[in-house]
């Protein structure tokens, strides 16, 4: 690796050329919270309570250049160390007696944002051009060699991106990488047989199916030449599952059990076959998208852009739209959770920036699905996987560091735990933005320049799109380390600042934005971004014009690198100079890569004047074969569980449920996110006087002072779709949509102005049973969106979420599939913020009302997951969502909230009614002052177990002042919605049941709920 050449610095006579080492650490006598935190994590990881173990963290800076003694002193003392709390030394500080050293540096080519800033500061401070590498040194005392190895491998470093040494590391010179020769290569394809095609696809990391490889072979046979390497790579990127969603867009042949009412409902594009099976001609188009288009045809007139762009857009008011996108970043997060989650957030933010002619991001969301950390000892992990505690800690840190630095509040999220996510955690990153309505649509024009803004291109992130379309295997970290990246949020913030200035540089009547179209460089890098923008026009690209992080990249690497923080703009030639001026002022690098519009609308790729690739846009975007996929579904039978285990006491069950990680407080995560930046937060993620209540959704005021709000929430009901529990993905989709709508309604949003998004994370759909589950979940999305009149405006699927590994004990090949997972994210309008409400119990004397019907089953509940064996078989069916009652409940509850009749509202979901009330009481209390409640469970259901712990859809608990109770009950009855009074708040600080079966102090409930994830 080598940086692009820079003029040699004027070297002072006493300067010493070489790599100079600096260390910075807490001054003796000063507190050292960074070391204390690492020590705490180390003790936790090793599972020991060793008061003698301590880790002393030292920041290391390696500076390559010619520096005099005075300059070295300035760097150590004035630049790097704090004047009061820290000590900066030149060279290597002494290793304390008995200490073992672990030193960690980024591998060559891995983004090191701090290094870039130090280079800038040294250049400004002393006028020297140097190269910098940063790192951390950990002096560990009180641990043996084996423990230090464990800490290095499992806590302090990730070998995928970092170099670990067990002594201070000061190289003689920074590593220099190997360049590629730049010979144009053809790949022989036209004469290959099927088996050879399959092998080529796998070995070259193309991850194309045999049918797709055959289509390519056919195309080049007709052309009478072999494809060039860059052409094949472009096809692989563009045709990847990640980019084209080929599974969801395929025709499907579905065979299910006879007499299934779900399959027999009339839906568009579905043809019944004589044998009872059905063919759907394009799954996504005929389900998720069809629901939206039908709703629009039926009069839903507030969507502005659906499915076409990088995010979906709905109307906020007559001037502004709100856009929303949720992405998955599962594979990178599995092997490098910090970088994977951070770049997931960064990518989704770019999707919002790159919507239409540019949106300003105003909020982020994050949802994680991970294995339960308490379920795995460090030694029990399947090979190649990271411990779930580390995964969760690191994905949180990644989202935190990216969102906080960008200045975008992370306002909504969830964490769901299931051991089947052990090798393949799910990371969903969402972003919400604000866009002027007249800028919702952009389109590049022939003759526009292709302008890249932002980060430089490097080898990092090569093959991310194809990697994310493959299943994970235990050696993924070795094979795909290059697909993983570290982000640089500040670069992206600078790009955002520049784009918003270019967007607003001129009013609409004077020409509007300085560009006609824009998209972000995500999966597939330039190949996808330019390929998409030029799909109808063609494009000519001069790859040597892309600014590089270091020399030696092949033209193919430049073309497909997914290096972060890059946007592509289509800029009319007359606006180039105005854009360049803005970029210079904002410190954003800008490069002219070529132009849109070629004679035959082809994609023409050049490198230093020679043509290295020429592709038909038609082949790229229309040429992918879409074979009919086989889908099968059998009504699942819940696994038999031994009956007769005694049921726990209701109080013990409640405390245990509050402490299950999926339900327990996520304050440890939420508090690390800046959820207030931009100053728009009206309902925060944590509410109540102790600021600890789990808000159903967040509410922002996108235009401060306007009184108009948006609510952001989600629904995730994985157990309802789990065949192992007798679940059905169709019902899971309905339950997730219902939950998402409930969450929005509970904070004051209008369900008639709420849009939703779908994110599927599925195991391999080459298995007909998984494809069958996918068909059913899509049917659920269609039926649910239609019934609730909530259009899907965007979405994203992630398939092949499964880990394949060889069991070291038996030698058997094992596959762990993730549970079928559908995240539904919702965005709802709050017409008047004065009517936004929170879920914390407000005042003694107020009544608690239960809206909705308590189901007759405990199937799919957290109670079942925790105490399954004690359940009678008749209690194990999964609950069904009633598509008439669910929307009616949402409308009715929303109308009483928006009439100002409700003091607090909370949806009944994970854990059931008692957990719901417990959360309201915890939220309404502080450590010093507790509110209590006296409830009559029999009012909810005659069976106390169902009353307490049934979950099911469409239920809410409302707190209503006595003077409004009759009015609320009357309005709900008028709407035909079941509603009963189930209790009253009091000042006791205790939750009691009238029958006397339950009496538990709210402080104890709070303790159980707050403790498990208080990391």
């Amino acid at each position: 690796m080598s940086l692009s050449t820079t003029p040699a610095p004027a070297t002072p006579p006493t300067a010493v050329e070489g790599v100079h080492r600096f260390e910075v650490f807490a001054r003796t006598g000063h507190a050292d919270p960074v070391s204390a935190a690492v020590t705490r994590d180390a003790l936790q990881l090793l599972g020991i309570k060793a008061p003698l173990l301590s880790v002393h963290a030292k920041h290391v800076y390696l500076v390559q250049g010619a520096l005099s003694a005075g300059q070295r002193g300035w760097i150590a003392e004035a630049l790097l160390a704090d004047a009061i709390t820290e000590q900066g030394v030149v060279g290597t500080s002494a290793i304390p007696g008995g200490a073992r050293v672990v030193e960690v540096h980024p591998l060559p080519g891995v983004m090191d944002p701090v290094a870039l800033s130090v280079e800038l500061a040294i250049r400004e401070g002393i006028g020297q051009r140097v190269r910098v590498m940063t790192g951390w040194r950990y002096d560990i005392t009180g641990a043996d060699a084996e423990q230090v190895q464990t800490l290095a491998g499992k806590l302090l470093a990730n070998p995928v991106i970092q170099r670990v040494s067990f002594e201070p590391y000061t190289p003689g010179a920074f590593p220099v990488g190997q360049g590629h020769d730049q010979v144009v290569r053809s790949v022989p394809v036209t004469k290959l047989g099927d088996e050879e095609l399959v092998r080529l696809s796998r070995d070259a990391h193309l991850f194309l199916s045999l049918e797709e490889m055959r289509a390519i072979r056919g195309h080049y046979q007709a052309l009478g030449r072999e494809p060039r390497d860059i052409e094949l790579e472009t096809l692989a990127q563009t045709w990847s599952e990640h980019c084209v969603h080929k599974t969801l867009k395929s025709a499907v042949h579905y065979a299910g059990p006879p007499g299934d009412a779900v399959a027999r409902r009339t839906r568009p594009g579905t043809t019944a076959k004589p044998d009872g099976s059905a063919v759907i001609d394009n799954l996504l188009k005929r389900t998720v998208a069809a629901a939206t288009h039908e709703l629009i045809a039926e009069g839903v007139d507030w969507t502005l852009s659906v499915f076409k762009d990088n995010s979906g857009v709905i109307a906020l008011d007559e001037n502004l739209g709100v856009c929303i996108k949720v992405e998955t970043h599962n594979r990178p997060s599995a092997i490098e959770p910090y970088g994977g989650a951070a770049t997931g957030a960064g990518g989704c933010i770019r999707d919002v920036i790159g919507t239409g002619l540019g949106a300003r991001p105003i909020a982020n969301t994050d949802v994680f699905c991970v294995a339960d950390p308490s379920g795995f000892a460090p030694g029990d992990l399947p090979p190649g996987t990271l411990h779930p505690r580390r995964v969760l800690t690191q994905v949180v840190a990644g989202v935190r560091d990216y969102g906080n630095r960008m200045g975008i509040p992370t306002v909504s999220g969830a964490v769901s735990f299931d051991d089947r996510y052990i090798g393949n955690p799910l990371v969903f990153c969402g972003c919400v933005g604000l866009i002027p309505r007249h800028l919702v649509h952009g389109q590049a024009r022939a003759g526009d320049r292709i302008i890249a803004l932002g980060g430089r291109t490097g080898r990092d992130g090569v093959h991310g799109a194809t990697f994310s379309s493959a299943q994970l295997e235990q050696n993924a970290a070795d094979e795909f380390g290059h697909a993983v990246q570290i982000g640089n949020a500040i670069t992206e913030k600078q790009v955002l600042d520049a784009i918003l200035r270019a967007r607003d540089a001129r009013p609409a009547h004077a020409g509007g934005p300085l560009y006609t179209g824009m998209t972000d460089c995500g999966a597939g890098g330039f190949s996808s971004a330019i390929g998409e923008m030029g799909a109808k026009l063609g494009a000519e690209v001069h790859l040597e014009n892309a600014p590089l992080k270091y020399a030696g990249l092949s033209y193919t690497e430049i073309w497909i690198s997914e290096a972060q923080e890059r946007m592509v703009l289509a800029v009319p030639p007359r606006d180039i100079e105005a854009l360049r001026a803005i970029c210079e002022q904002e410190g954003v690098e800008m490069a002219d890569l070529g132009h849109f519009g070629t004679e035959k609308a082809e994609l023409v790729l050049k490198f230093h004047g020679s043509e290295v690739g020429r592709l038909s846009m038609h082949l790229l975007h229309e040429g992918i074969p879409m074979p009919t996929r086989e889908a099968r579904w059998a009504a699942p039978v819940a696994k038999a569980t031994p009956a007769g285990t005694p049921a726990p006491h209701v109080k013990d069950a409640l405390l245990a449920l509050l402490a299950t990680p999926t339900i327990a407080s996520k304050h440890w995560i939420i508090r690390q996110y800046d959820h207030e930046v931009q100053g728009m937060g009206v309902i925060k993620p944590l509410v109540g006087p102790g600021m600890r209540g789990p808000s159903d959704a967040s509410v922002l005021e996108p235009v401060p002072g306007s009184g108009l709000g948006i609510a952001i929430g989600c629904g995730l009901q994985t157990p309802i779709g789990d065949p192992a529990l007798g679940g059905d993905p169709y019902q899971m989709a309905l339950a997730a949509i219902d939950e998402c709508v409930r969450n929005l309604v509970c904070v004051g949003a209008d369900p008639a102005r709420s849009a939703i998004l779908d994110n599927f994370s599925w195991p391999s759909c080459n298995k007909p049973e998984n494809m069958g589950a996918l068909v059913r979940v899509c049917w659920g999305c269609y039926d649910g969106a239609k019934a609730y009149r909530t259009p899907f405006v965007s979405g994203k699927d992630s398939l092949n979420n499964q880990l394949q590994y060889t069991d070291p004990a038996t030698g058997a090949v094992r596959v762990i599939e993730v549970p079928f997972t559908l995240l539904v994210t919702g965005l709802g309008i709050v017409h008047d913020l004065a009517h936004a409400i929170t879920m914390d119990a407000k005042a003694p004397g107020n009544s608690l009302l239960l809206v909705g019907q308590t189901p007759e089953t405990l199937g799919g509940t957290h109670y079942q997951l925790k105490f399954g064996p004690s359940l009678a078989p008749g209690m194990r069916a999964i609950p069904q969502t009633d598509l008439a009652r669910g929307p009616a409940c949402a409308r009715a509850v929303s109308s009483v909230i928006r009439a100002g009749l409700v003091r607090s509202a909370h949806d009944v979901s994970d854990g059931g009614l008692l957990c719901c009330i417990a959360e309201m009481l915890i939220a309404g209390s502080t450590a010093g002052a507790s509110i209590g409640a006296r409830v009559d469970l029999t009012a909810a259901h005659r069976d106390p177990l169902l009353a307490a712990f049934a979950e099911g859809s469409s239920r809410y608990v409302l707190e209503v002042a006595p003077q409004h109770e009759a009015e609320v009950l009357g309005k709900l009855a008028e709407a035909g919605v079941p509603c009963v009074r189930i209790g009253q708040l009091d000042a006791s600080g205790v939750l009691t049941d009238l029958s006397g079966v339950l009496s538990v102090v709210v402080n104890d409930l709070a303790g159980a709920w707050l403790a498990p994830l208080d990391w």
């Binding site: 790097l80 904002e586 309902i683």
Partner: protein, 299 residues
């Protein structure tokens, strides 16, 4: 190089003071800070630090200066380090002159971290002139005692005896409704550490400690961690939230008053009685006080 002038103000009189807001790569609280100054009656002018270094005379025309929050240059090396180093090198003397003519300066969160390293806070002792070069650093904002970033609203106490023009009248305005006196923090490095116990004593005695966390002070020794207290979430010495210079015009603090300009930003406004949500929020009171102070100097 041209400068970017963004006047977010609407219908202010030409005599309204102009607030110069200095932004840098990674600054991300500039828009809400501009809104605060606008609502308080000032014009605003957001200027990139590169443009300001190219044209330092802009500082001479500023009547208020704001250094907003964010992650300037990624907070690489340490929070605010690179902007502070650039201010010391290029703009210190202009900033010192502005303070000398009575220009209120607001340094919030990352801005506070910058100000203590750039020699702007706590400034010279009472009656002492500003030195020609930045003096020895007396305060640091170090890693939170908990070792990580914290976002939460915290109760704060305005020190009645403080000379700070920004917090003037704050204690009296909210004496009857202490639950309104909260501010949101969001930082990883907000623990106030003084060079010596003497510095803390001097700041206290000269009325330069303008705001403290919580309602009960917890005395501490510099450099030692105080026991973590929910009302002092970063372990700051003497529960210090914010300090001003001896003139009371340069004010630095970790929490964000600019995120609390509307009553429905309060963390539990849905349960506050209407009467507690009357008039200006504490955040608004601060910005109005400073704009008033700026006007007095202009007249």
């Amino acid at each position: 190089m041209t400068t970017r002038t963004t006047d977010t103000g609407s219908a202010h009189a030409p005599t309204a003071p102009t607030a110069l807001i200095i932004r840098a790569p990674g600054t991300n609280c500039d828009v809400e800070l501009a809104r605060a100054f606008t609502l308080a009656g000032a014009h605003t002018n957001l200027v990139h630090i590169d443009a300001l270094i190219a044209e330092p005379g802009l500082i001479d025309r500023a009547e208020i200066i704001g250094i907003p929050g964010g992650f300037s240059y990624g907070d690489d090396i340490a929070s605010g380090r690179i902007v502070a180093s650039r201010l010391r090198q290029h703009l210190y003397s202009k900033l010192r002159q502005a303070v000398g003519r009575g220009c209120p300066v607001f340094a919030v969160c990352n801005g506070f971290q910058i100000a203590v390293q750039a020699g702007l806070l706590p400034g010279p002792g009472v009656g002492q002139p500003w030195p020609a070069e930045p003096g020895e650093q007396e305060l640091s904002l170090s890693h939170n005692a908990g070792g990580r970033f914290v976002d939460r609203w915290v109760p704060v106490r305005a020190e009645g005896a403080s000379v700070c023009v920004w917090t003037k009248g704050l204690a009296e305005a909210f004496a009857d409704r202490p639950e309104a006196m909260m501010l949101p923090i969001a930082h990883g490095e907000g623990r106030v550490v003084a060079r010596s116990p003497g510095v803390l004593q001097r700041l206290s005695a000269s009325g330069q400690v303008a705001l403290r966390y919580g309602r009960t002070p917890v005395p501490s020794v510099p450099g030692q961690l105080v026991a973590l207290h929910p009302d002092n979430p970063n372990g700051s010495s003497d529960d210090i939230v914010g300090v001003c210079d001896a003139s009371g015009r340069v004010f630095g603090l970790m929490p964000h008053p600019e995120r609390y300009l509307d009553w429905n930003r309060h963390p539990f406004w849905t349960r506050l009685p209407e009467g507690a949500r009357r008039g200006d929020t504490p955040g608004m009171v601060m910005f109005k006080s400073a704009v008033r102070a700026a006007r007095e100097v202009m007249v």
